[in-house]
């Protein structure tokens, strides 16, 4: 435990023993608004993470770019300088606005390919995200599913496609339409959005999934994920996402589909000002009537 000894030197005050270290950890975890110390399955490479080029899929990479694009303003607030994130992930102005407004930004790794029990043809076009760790007392500002279109994949597919109808595949650019559905009860499909893709298009595209996300946060048991359906614009014939050039769960790590969500912390402002959590007086000091009709939400015990 280091502190300044009054003559501008930092000195070791004392070495904490195991119990004190545990206490200090839980105090700082609480300051960070965390109930427990996360134990992610994916262990980060030991060397400096921010420069790590491989080993990180698109979901963490997106947020590392956002993290590196945040700068501190004179007012003490954090502001986004969007150049890096715009270049890498082709974000829109509304995205930049959401990033500035958000207190919490989460990127979710797609678990759709591991899901069983959902009988939908394309294993690729299926997305499911684990929302169990979304912090409580937050409201959704916006959310989007991000997909990467790889031009080389489109060309490979066009070359291998049998020339059933020449004019469709001859040099002329093809148009695809991709439609995103929410998978509802009994595998019903609930329309979310659709967009036209040109076969010469490359890069990230985003589909707004704020509505299903808000619903899943309220009813986690109805989170069956999302289903993508791709078609040839001309004939309406259904094709696989691979033929559209969409990178799936077996593609390049950095280009994997992922969801990103922007949340506003909806704690009472004092708690927000005090760094997310107010210290809670020990139970014996709280006489119940004080808290009977208190509108402040139930506080977590410490």
């Amino acid at each position: 435990f280091y502190y300044d000894n009054g003559v501008d030197q930092t000195v070791v005050h004392k070495h904490l023993n195991k119990r004190e270290k545990k206490e200090m950890q839980s105090e700082i975890l609480h300051l960070l608004g965390l109930e427990h110390r996360p134990r992610p399955v994916l262990m980060l490479p030991s060397k400096k993470k921010l420069e790590v080029d491989d080993g990180l899929s698109s979901a963490p990479r997106f947020l590392i770019d956002v993290y590196q694009s945040l700068t501190e303003e004179d007012s003490g607030e954090l502001k986004l300088t969007p150049d890096l994130i715009e270049r890498e992930f082709n974000v829109s102005d509304s995205d930049v606005h959401s990033m500035d407004e958000a207190d919490i930004i989460m990127s979710f790794v797609n678990r759709g390919q591991h899901l069983h029990g959902i009988r939908h043809h394309h294993s690729f076009g299926r997305f499911w995200f684990d929302l169990s760790e979304v912090p409580a007392q937050t409201t959704v500002i916006s959310a989007e599913l991000r997909l990467y279109i790889n031009l080389t994949m489109v060309q490979e597919n066009m070359n291998t496609t049998e020339k059933a109808d020449e004019e469709e595949t001859e040099g002329k650019s093809q148009n695809f339409s991709i439609t995103l559905y929410e998978i509802g009860l009994e595998d019903s499909l609930i329309y979310i959005d659709s967009m036209e893709i040109d076969s010469h298009q490359e890069g990230w595209v985003a589909v707004n999934v704020s509505v299903p996300l808000q619903k899943w946060l309220v009813k986690p048991e109805e989170n069956f994920g999302l289903q993508l359906v791709c078609r040839l614009s001309t004939s309406g014939k259904q094709i696989s996402a691979r033929e559209v050039g969409l990178v799936g769960s077996h593609g390049n790590d950095k280009l994997q589909p992922f969801m990103v969500a922007f949340f506003r912390s909806s704690m009472p402002s004092t708690q927000k000002q005090l760094g997310q959590q107010l210290p809670v007086p020990p139970k014996e000091l709280i006489d119940d009537e004080d808290f009977e009709n208190d509108e402040v939400p139930k506080r977590s015990s410490r």
Partner: protein, 138 residues
Amino acid sequence: IRRQTPNNNKKRSKDNEEFGGWNPYADLDARLSRRSCQKKNLYVSFRDLGWQDWIIAPDGYAASYCNGECSFPLNAHMNASNHAIVQTLVHLMNPYRVPKPCCAPIKLSSISVLYFDDNSNVILKKYRNMVVKSCGCH
């Protein structure tokens, strides 16, 4: 310094016990030895806490803290608010009942922390008022 009348002494000693002894205006040398209000370094190290496996960035942050006295004459201190002068004068008149101005942050800034949750999703959280930029007498 008020003229010491015997009963005043009695009152003072009673007050003294009541208010824990040290009177910054009686023991002058003690006062001078205390440094005036200023910002001090304190670094919260996520690395020392052994959190490198789940916190992607930063390695820690310079939280700092404020320390030192807000004593008369206040103009010796940087960043004393106008009201701090009033607070000091009232304290001078009634040192055992009215506190001196307090040495506290006058400018705080934010940090953002990037970390993995249990499901290896990634969370970027912004925290306001986490770093002391400057201290002053309030």
